[in-house]
C-alpha cells in the first residue's frame, strides 16, 4: 500500500489508479463479483448449449450426424462438470458471496483483497484449461462428470487416452486453488470484519449460508484434489491407486492392486457436500427474497440457523448414498441411508419456515418473488424424490435410471437456477443502479418454470420403467417402448424453448444496463445493509466516511409501532417513527 491509499478507521484501503486497476485487475470485491458472474454465465451458456446437443440426439436420433456416441458422452460429461462446478459453485460463492458479504456485513471489502483478486484469476485460468480440452486431439473427456476410473483414463472412453482427461483434472485442481483462496477470504471476513452490532445471530441468512457452504467447500474440495492428483498419476505415471488388474484390448495392462471404489469414496466425500455448496447459497437467496417481497419477518430465524448448521454437518456423513450399488460393503448402506434420511428433517424445517413466512404476510408478486415461489415448488418436488434415492433399498431399482436424472436436475439444477435468477433480478438494481424490465422478466420466468418442470417431471416415470441414464440410444432394447422415444422428442422441444428463453434474460440484462428505469435507493424496501449505502450503487469502500452500526436483526418487517413496514438494520430504536 502506498501513501495515496485512503485510510478509514485506521485501516488502509486499496485504491485503484487506472482503468486496468479498476476494471481488470481490481481488488474491489464488487468488481471481482461481477467478473465471477460474467465468466460463470459465459461458461454456463456453453454448458447449456452442450445439453441441447445431447437433447437433439435423444429426441431426434441421427438428425445430426456429427453427434456420434463419443461426442454425445463428451457433451454429457462437460455439461455436468460445467454446470456443477464452473457455473453454480463459482457463481454462488464467487459472485453472490463476493458481492454480498462485505455489503451485508457492513465492511469495506474482503479481508484479503489481493488474494481475492488472485482467486478470480485462478478461476479464470481453470475455465481456460477446461475450454482448451475442446481443442485438443480426441477432444474433452467423455468419462461422465464423476470421472470414475478405470474407464476415465483408458481407451474406449472419449479423451481417455488423450489430453482430455488430464486437462479436466488439471482444471479442477486449479479451480480448487481458486476456491480455497476465495473461501479463506469469505470465512475470515465473516468472522473478523463485521460492522459494530452485527453479531453472528444478526447476520442475514444468506451470509450464514455462504459462510457454511464455504466451510463445506474448504473441507470437501481437498478430497477431490487428492483424487484428481492420484488419477493424473495413474494416467501419466501408471501408478495404480485406483487401477486393479485390467484386461483390455486383448492384453493385460500394466496396472494392478488399486481400488476403483476408493476413487468413488474420495469423489463423493467431495461430491455430496458439493450438492450443499450449491444448495445452501440458493437457500440463502430464498430466505432473503421471501422475507423482503412478502414484507414479513422470516419465520424461525434461530431454527433456520441451527438447521443450516445441522445440514452442513450431516452433509459430510451421507456421501456413500451415491454408492449403494457400487460394490462397497453392503452393510454400510444401513448407516448411510439413516444419515441421509435424517438430513431430510432439517431440510424440511427450512421449507416449513419459508412457507410459514408467507402466513399473514403482505405478498408482493414481483419477479424475484415469482422465482422464490417457483423455487419452493420445484425444490419440494426434487427434495421429496431424494427420499426415494436416499433410502437404500428403494434406490436399487431406480439407481442409474432416468429417475435419478429427473431428481437431481429438479433439486440441484433447476431449483438453484431459479434461486439464482431470483437473486439476479433482486440485486441487479444494487449493482447497476437500474431496474430490469418486468415484462421480459415475467416472460422469462414462465417459460423457465413451466418448461423445466415439463422437461424433468416425466423423466421420473421412464425411470420407473427402468430406462438407464447415459444411453446414447435406446433403440436396441425391447423393454423400452416407442412412447419413450416420443417423450424424448417432447422433452427436447421443451428444452430448446427453455434454452432459447434464457436469451431473454441475457437481453434484459444488457439492455437494462442502458435503458432500464433508474432504480431508487432500496427499491424493494429491504432491511439488510447492502441497500443502505451512501451512494447507490455503492462506491469503492462501500460506506463513505462512516461505517454502519447495526441495531437489529435483518428481517424487521411489519414491526408493531413503526409507521413504515420495514426498519433497516442500521436504524436505532429511537429513530423508528
Amino acid at each position: 500500500m502506498d501513501q495515496n491509499s485512503a485510510t478509514y478507521e485506521g485501516q488502509k484501503m486499496y485504491d485503484p489508479k487506472g482503468w486496468w486497476d479498476t476494471y481488470v485487475f481490481s481488488q474491489d470485491h464488487k468488481v471481482i463479483a461481477l467478473q465471477y458472474v460474467c465468466v460463470a454465465l459465459a461458461i454456463g451458456l456453453t454448458g447449456m448449449f452442450l445439453s441441447l446437443l445431447m437433447r437433439m440426439q435423444l429426441g431426434f436420433p441421427g438428425l445430426f450426424e456429427s453427434i456420434d456416441a463419443g461426442s454425445y458422452y463428451q457433451d454429457v460429461t462437460m455439461h455436468g462438470m460445467i454446470m456443477v462446478i464452473y457455473l453454480l459453485t463459482a457463481l454462488f460463492l464467487g459472485g453472490f458471496g463476493n458481492y454480498l458479504i462485505p455489503l451485508m456485513l457492513g465492511c469495506r471489502d474482503m479481508a484479503f483483497p489481493f488474494v481475492n483478486m488472485l482467486s478470480f484469476w485462478m478461476y479464470f485460468l481453470s475455465v481456460i484449461i477446461l475450454v482448451a480440452s475442446f481443442f485438443v486431439e480426441s477432444g474433452p473427456t467423455g468419462a461422465g462428470w464423476t470421472l470414475y476410473p478405470p474407464q476415465s483414463i483408458l481407451e474406449g472412453t472419449p479423451g481417455g487416452d488423450g489430453a482430455g482427461i488430464i486437462l479436466m483434472l488439471a482444471s479442477l485442481a486449479v479451480f480448487i486453488v481458486a476456491f480455497t483462496m476465495g473461501g479463506l477470504n469469505y470465512i475470515t471476513t465473516v468472522l473478523q470484519s463485521r460492522a459494530k452490532g452485527m453479531t453472528l445471530m444478526r447476520m442475514p441468512l444468506i451470509i450464514w449460508c455462504i459462510f457454511l457452504a464455504t466451510f463445506l467447500g474448504l473441507l470437501a474440495f481437498p478430497a477431490l484434489l487428492v483424487g484428481a492428483i492420484m488419477l493424473i498419476f495413474d494416467r501419466v505415471l501408471e501408478t495404480s491407486f485406483f487401477m486393479p488388474e485390467i484386461f483390455k484390448g486383448g492384453e493385460v495392462l500394466d496396472y494392478g492392486g488399486g481400488s476403483p471404489v476408493l476413487f468413488q469414496h474420495l469423489f463423493w466425500f467431495f461430491g455430496h457436500p458439493e450438492v450443499y455448496i450449491i444448495a445452501l447459497p440458493a437457500f440463502g437467496i430464498i430466505s432473503e427474497l421471501i422475507s423482503v417481497h412478502a414484507r414479513k419477518n422470516i419465520f424461525g430465524y434461530n431454527m433456520m440457523v441451527w438447521a443450516l448448521i445441522a445440514i452442513a454437518g450431516i452433509a459430510f456423513i451421507v456421501w456413500a448414498h451415491h454408492m449403494y450399488v457400487a460394490g462397497m460393503n453392503p452393510y454400510l448402506g444401513f448407516f448411510f441411508a439413516t444419515t441421509t434420511l435424517i438430513i431430510a428433517v432439517p431440510t424440511a424445517i427450512k421449507v416449513y419456515n419459508w412457507v410459514l413466512t408467507l402466513w399473514n404476510a403482505n405478498i408482493k408478486m414481483t419477479v424475484p418473488m415469482l422465482y422464490c415461489l417457483a423455487f419452493l415448488v420445484t425444490f419440494l418436488n426434487g427434495g421429496l424424490t431424494g427420499l426415494f434415492l436416499g433410502n437404500v433399498a428403494v434406490d436399487v431399482p431406480l439407481s442409474d435410471t432416468y429417475f435419478v436424472v429427473g431428481h437431481f436436475h429438479m433439486v440441484m439444477a433447476v431449483s438453484p437456477v431459479l434461486a439464482l435468477y431470483g437473486g439476479l433480478y433482486h440485486w441487479y438494481p444494487s449493482v447497476t443502479g437500474r431496474m430490469l424490465n418486468d415484462t421480459l422478466g415475467k416472460i422469462h420466468f414462465w417459460i423457465t418454470f413451466v418448461g423445466t418442470y415439463l422437461i424433468y417431471f416425466p423423466m421420473h416415470y421412464i425411470g420407473f420403467l427402468g430406462v438407464p441414464r447415459r444411453y446414447y440410444s435406446n433403440e436396441q432394447y425391447d423393454f423400452i417402448p416407442q412412447s419413450v422415444a416420443d417423450l424424448n422428442q417432447f422433452i427436447t422441444v421443451c428444452a430448446l424453448i427453455v434454452g432459447a428463453a434464457q436469451f431473454i434474460l441475457l437481453y434484459n440484462f444488457i439492455v437494462s444496463l442502458y435503458k432500464g428505469a433508474i432504480a431508487p435507493k432500496n427499491p424493494w424496501g429491504a432491511c439488510t445493509l447492502e441497500w443502505q449505502t451512501l451512494e447507490s450503487p455503492p462506491g469503492h469502500g462501500n460506506w463513505g466516511e462512516q461505517l454502519p452500526v447495526v441495531y437489529r436483526w435483518p428481517y424487521e418487517y411489519g414491526l408493531p409501532g413503526a409507521t413504515s413496514d420495514f426498519v433497516p438494520q442500521n436504524v436505532p430504536d429511537e429513530q423508528i417513527t
Binding site: 456420434d68 456416441a69 461426442s71 478405470p150 474407464q151 481407451e155 474406449g156 472412453t157 472419449p158 485390467i246 484386461f247 486383448g250 492384453e251 494392478g256 481400488s259 471404489v261 412478502a294 414484507r295 414479513k296 419477518n297 419465520f299 424461525g300 450399488v325 457400487a326 453392503p330 444401513f334 441411508a337 434420511l341 428433517v345 402466513w359 404476510a361 403482505n362 405478498i363 408478486m365 415469482l370 417457483a374 419440494l380 427420499l387 426415494f388 433410502n391 437404500v392 433399498a393 428403494v394 436399487v396 431399482p397 431406480l398 439407481s399 414462465w446 413451466v450 417431471f457 416415470y461 421412464i462 420407473f464 427402468g466 438407464p468 444411453y471 432394447y477 425391447d478 419413450v484 436483526w553
Partner: protein, 358 residues
C-alpha cells in the same frame, strides 16, 4: 393469480399423473416385489407432503396479497409449532426408512441354498460361469486373462476344469430358484441390471460384488448395463432366459467346460463374442458405433483420410491391431487396439467376417 392457477395445475397434474402415466414399473419377474412396495409407500408419503405444502403456499398467495398500507403479522418465532412440525416430519421419515432398511436387509443377506452363477463384464459384453459338477469355482487371476482364457482361470486348478463358461451374452436360469450372482469385471465398471428383476449391482474390476434374486416368470429378459462404461455403454445388452428346471438343465449340459474351451481351435465367431467386438460391429447389417460386418467383405470403404480401400483380410487385420490407422468415414475414432492377438486368431476373425458376406 396466474401463478396460483398454473401452479395448482402443476401440483394436481403431478398427483393425477401417477394414475394415468403410460410409463410405470416394468412387469415384475422376480421375488423383489417388496422393492416396488417401498417405492409405492414413498410415493404416497411424499405425495401427501407435496400436496399439503404446495397447497399451503398457494393459499397464502391468494389470502395475503400485497395491499398498500397493510402490514404483515410480526411473529419471529413459534417454538411450539416448530417442534410439532419437526416431530411430524421425523415420524414421516421413520415411516419411509423402516421398510427401506428392512428391504435392504433382505437384499444384502445372500441365501445359502442358492444356485451360484458368476457374472463377468467387459467392454461391452456379458459372460457367465457356472461352477460345474463339483460345485466349486476354479481360481482366477487378473493376470491370466487372454483372448483364449477369457475368464482368467488358473489352468492348473483342478476345480476349474469343469467350470461351465457362457460366452455369448445369453444366460439361462431356472424358474423359482434363488440365484446368487458373483460379479466381477475384466476392465472397467459395469452394472448388471434387468429391469423386470429390479435388482442391480455394479461389477468392479479387482473385486467381487454380489447380487441375488429369484426369477418367478418364464421368459426372455434384457440385461442393460447401468453403470457408464465407455463409448459402447448403451450397446452393452445381454439376455437372460428364464427356463423351467428341465430346460435349464438341458441348456447347461450343452455349454462347454473350461477344459473344453482351452482345447478348441481358433474360432472367429467365438473370439469376436468374447472380445466384445459385436457390441459395436453388428452382424445383422444394423449400424452401430462401428461399421457392420454383414455383407461388407470385398466392398469398398471410404476412410476419413480420404482414401478408399477394399475390405479384405489385410484391411481387417490392420483395423484390429491398429484401428486408428484407418478410420472408416462416418465413424468416430474410438476403437481400442487389439495388438496382442495371434495371427491365427486374426485370420479366424477375418474368415468369420468373410462368411457374413456369403
Amino acid at each position: 393469480m396466474a401463478f396460483v392457477i398454473v401452479t395448482a395445475i402443476i401440483v394436481i397434474g403431478t398427483v393425477l399423473w401417477n394414475f394415468v402415466s403410460p410409463w410405470w414399473f416394468s412387469p415384475l419377474a422376480s421375488n423383489w416385489g417388496f422393492l416396488d412396495t417401498t417405492i409405492l409407500i414413498s410415493l404416497v408419503i411424499t405425495g401427501i407432503a407435496f400436496v399439503l405444502i404446495s397447497a399451503f403456499i398457494l393459499y397464502c398467495v391468494v389470502k395475503f396479497p400485497y395491499r398498500e398500507g397493510n402490514k404483515s403479522e410480526y411473529e419471529p418465532e413459534n417454538p411450539a409449532l416448530e417442534l410439532k412440525l419437526t416431530i411430524i416430519t421425523t415420524i414421516g421419515v421413520i415411516a419411509l426408512l423402516a421398510p427401506g432398511l428392512y428391504a435392504w436387509k433382505l437384499y444384502v443377506e445372500l441365501p445359502v441354498d442358492a444356485l451360484e452363477v458368476e457374472g463377468v463384464g467387459q467392454q461391452w459384453v456379458w459372460s457367465y460361469r457356472f461352477p460345474g459338477e463339483d460345485g466349486v469355482y476354479g481360481g482366477t487371476n487378473g493376470r491370466l486373462f487372454s483372448s483364449k482364457n477369457t475368464f482368467g482361470l488358473n489352468p492348473d486348478d483342478p476345480y476349474g476344469q469343469d467350470d461351465i463358461l457362457i460366452r455369448g451374452g445369453e444366460v439361462h436360469l431356472p424358474i423359482n430358484n434363488k440365484v446368487v450372482f458373483q460379479l466381477r469385471s475384466k476392465d472397467v465398471l459395469h452394472d448388471f441390471y434387468v429391469p423386470q428383476f429390479r435388482a442391480k449391482m455394479d461389477l468392479v474390476p479387482g473385486q467381487q460384488s454380489n447380487l441375488w434374486f429369484e426369477p418367478t416368470v418364464l421368459g426372455t429378459y434384457e440385461v442393460a448395463c447401468a453403470e457408464y462404461c465407455g463409448t459402447g455403454h448403451y450397446a452393452m445388452r445381454g439376455v437372460v432366459v428364464v427356463d423351467t428346471e428341465e430346460d435349464f438343465k438341458t441348456w447347461l449340459a450343452e455349454q462347454p467346460t473350461f477344459a473344453e474351451t482351452m482345447n478348441e481351435g481358433a474360432n472367429g465367431e467365438q473370439i469376436v463374442q468374447t472380445l466384445g467386438c459385436v457390441a459395436c460391429h453388428s452382424v445383422d447389417g444394423s449400424d452401430g458405433i462401428g461399421p457392420t460386418w454383414r455383407d461388407t467383405y470385398g466392398t469398398n470403404r471410404a476412410l476419413t483420410s480420404g482414401e478408399t480401400v477394399v475390405v479384405d483380410d489385410e484391411y481387417i487385420k490392420t483395423s484390429i491391431v491398429n484401428p486408428m490407422s484407418q478410420i472408416a468415414e462416418g465413424y468416430a475414432p474410438v476403437m481400442p487396439a487389439y495388438a496382442t492377438l495371434s495371427d491365427e486368431e486374426l485370420t479366424a476373425i477375418s474368415d468369420y467376417i468373410k462368411t457374413l458376406s456369403e
